[in-house]
């Protein structure tokens, strides 16, 4: 558990695109719609940088609702949020595999 005011670790920065609302992940150089591209903060200094970036990107009118999310790594080494809420946020509605980010991976799935 993160202490109050301590960013969770390891973590990624997640936000919604201001214009279209899509969930985005902070990368080394910008924002990506794919969680696999996310820059993972393994240490406090990087997490602090991500926090600063969250505030800056919000000010620059790029994104809304930016915050850090604790992750673990899956077998392929990709970041996966540890909390189910954020997992759903990175995938899409769980009863509709045809919608959200998960749809790209399972295009044939129906309702």
């Amino acid at each position: 558990m993160a202490k109050p005011n301590q960013p969770p670790l390891p973590s990624i920065l997640i936000a919604n695109d201001l214009l279209d609302g899509e969930v985005l992940f902070r990368t080394v150089s910008g924002w990506s719609p794919a969680v696999a591209d996310a820059l993972v903060a393994e240490d406090l200094a990087t997490a602090r940088q991500l926090e600063a970036e969250a505030a800056a990107a919000t000010r620059r009118q790029e994104v809304v609702d930016a915050y850090l999310v604790e992750i673990a790594r899956d077998a392929a080494g990709r970041p996966v949020p540890t909390h189910y809420r954020e997992r759903i946020k990175t995938l899409g509605p769980s009863h509709r595999p045809d919608l959200g980010k998960q749809a790209a991976e399972a295009p044939a799935a129906g309702r």
Binding site: L19, D20, G21, H95
Partner: protein, 561 residues
């Protein structure tokens, strides 16, 4: 149906133009999110988990075919091909892009619709009995009252910044299908027992959410003409004395509770006595003008029983089953109201695709005087269908995949969007509804169990009305896992009751089996013709608790083993 006058039209168009400008200023950076958020919320735009969400008002749940068609167009052009009908008789789109919202609002304004007062601390969209104008037990159609309140409350300068949101529901019938007991204000049209004059019984201070409370009668009989002045008095007392220090204590139910209902009523009456009634109450001409929009359609005179329907039922058991569950008697001989269930087994409660919306719009235009309703049970209603036409309507619904015969039964589950969409959720609702519906999918068994309302919310805010479900399910988080609390004995009808918890929360996978155990207790104990809720009332909670707890305990032990 109510049609906009020039004032309504201009007001809505101006709001769209203002919002277009606000969005442009947001996008060019001149408005920050803090500045913009209240503006977008005032136009029904929320930020949810995966995207923005747009909530569109459907005043008192009444729509025309043309309006539903326009919603279908919006679903296709600007969303992902479907919409979600809510327990407030509204519709929500789950994937609109912020930049498209002004264009969507224009399309809505073209059909006299908007998103005003679907959010924020104002008087929200007024809801009403979905069988308004249909039910035989109705003294008067509640929609002219609802429309009057809509007009009075829209942009009312005094009530734009209330301590908290404010929800009003109206019914004109004995049987309460509008859940007036769990609204901030609930109105029931009735006749004075001695004079026969029309008026309202006024309930105040009902509500669900984290502090569920049943509304209290503060006025047993309010003459019809005095409605607005009385409501104004209620709003003034609330606006002046409702708590603004704590969001969770800001609803009028807390004020009524803290003051006590007598004292609250006394203050309202004192305020009411001081108000200049005639300057506030609606002009009788205006009341008549509004009422005229809701005049009954041009019914034909028909025999009470349709020979054509009877003959069709005799050869088509599926039609017969559908008529038993989804068809409601109409006050006019030869007619019926048809509920179109949006609770398909395997679907999400309240969701309808653009094609389904068009199919229902077609049917409304062809068979129901171009009128339809959204019910707070998240279904659609064709209110005025000739019984002779029921076989054709049934066939068309079946062709559109909309002939699910389960209205009021165990699979007609109310569920809020929950964590699959909602940013506030603590757990998912839709998959729970789906797993319970799947368990009870057999139509014969559903019929055998009879009326049973299951209601599911994905957090304490209770948009899924779980407190008033015969069986209520509340999704919470426990140790990083979704956990569901089960309540029993809630009732949204005129016998309003809040359900009681049966025991510890259980895991998602256990919910269908837990419901099964409760149904078993009922089936074993019921008397002839006795419904689930009646049995619950008669035998009390204990037998259900015992069955539930022995189940829940066993699950915990198995999990530990």
């Amino acid at each position: 149906m109510y049609r906009y006058d020039e004032f309504d039209e201009r007001f809505v168009r101006e709001r769209v133009a203002q919002f277009r400008d606000q969005v442009a200023r947001r996008l060019d950076g001149s408005l920050t999110e803090e500045e913009f958020k209240p503006l977008r919320l005032r136009n029904g735009v929320y930020l949810q988990l995966h995207a923005y969400m747009l909530r569109i008002a459907v005043p008192y749940g009444t729509l025309s075919g043309r309006q539903l068609r326009q919603l279908a167009l919006i679903a296709e052009r600007y969303d992902r091909g479907y919409g979600h009908f809510t327990t407030r008789q509204n519709i929500q789109f789950n994937w609109p892009k912020l930049r498209d919202v002004p264009a969507i609002l224009d399309l809505l304004a073209d059909v006299e619709m908007h998103c005003i007062q679907t959010s924020g601390n104002c008087i929200r969209n007024v809801t009403a009995d979905h069988f308004a104008g249909v039910a035989a037990d109705e003294v008067e159609d509640p929609r002219p009252t609802a429309e009057l309140i809509r007009q009075w409350s829209t942009n009312h300068p005094e009530f734009c910044y209330l301590p908290r949101k404010f929800k009003v529901a109206v019914t004109g019938a004995e049987e309460d299908r509008a859940a007036i007991g769990v609204h901030d204000v609930g109105l029931r049209l009735l006749r004075h027992p001695e004079t026969g004059a029309l008026g309202y019984r006024v309930l105040v201070g009902g509500g669900l959410g984290r502090t569920p409370i049943v509304g209290k009668v503060v006025r047993e009989f309010l003459p019809k003409a005095e409605l607005l002045a009385y409501l104004e008095a209620v709003m003034r007392v609330y606006n002046a004395e409702g708590r603004r220090d704590n969001k969770y204590k800001a609803r009028v139910k807390i004020l009524v509770h803290e003051l006590g209902e007598e004292e609250f009523a006394r203050r309202v009456e004192a305020e009411f006595a001081q108000l200049d009634g005639p300057s506030i109450n609606a002009d009788p001409e205006e009341v008549a003008r509004i009422a005229a929009y809701f005049a009954p359609p041009a019914y034909e005179s028909l025999p009470a029983r349709s020979a054509r329907l009877e003959a069709a039922k005799a050869t088509n058991p599926a039609l017969a089953g559908f008529v038993t569950t989804n068809v409601f008697p109409h006050r006019v001989p030869g007619y019926a109201a048809v509920t179109v269930s949006l609770k398909l087994i395997g679907g999400a409660p309240g969701d309808a695709t653009a094609e389904q919306m068009r199919a229902v719009a077609d049917l409304a235009e062809r068979y129901s005087f171009d009128e339809l309703r959204v019910s707070h049970h998240q279904n659609l209603v064709l209110p005025h269908v000739r019984q002779d036409d029921l076989p054709a309507v049934f066939a068309a619904l079946a062709a559109a995949g909309l002939a699910t015969a389960n209205v009021g039964l165990v699979t007609d589950i109310i569920a809020c969007p929950g964590l699959d969409y909602c940013a506030l959720a603590t757990a998912r609702s839709i998959p729970i509804a789906q797993s319970v519906a799947e368990r009870f999918r057999d139509p014969v068994r559903q019929q055998e169990i009879g009326p049973l309302n299951i209601k599911i919310s994905g957090c304490i805010n209770a948009c899924g009305h779980h407190h008033v479900g015969h069986i209520g399910i509340l999704g919470l988080e426990k140790n990083g896992i979704e956990n569901y609390q089960i309540t029993l004995g809630g009732d949204a009808s005129e016998k309003t009751a809040l359900g009681e918890r049966l025991g510890p929360g259980i895991a998602a996978e256990e919910v269908p089996e837990a419901i099964e155990r409760l149904v078993e207790v009922y089936l074993a104990a019921r008397g002839a013709g006795e419904s689930f809720i009646d049995t619950t009332r008669r035998i009390g909670l204990e037998p259900f608790k015992a069955a539930f707890q022995s189940f829940a305990r066993k699950e915990v032990q198995d999990a530990a083993a």
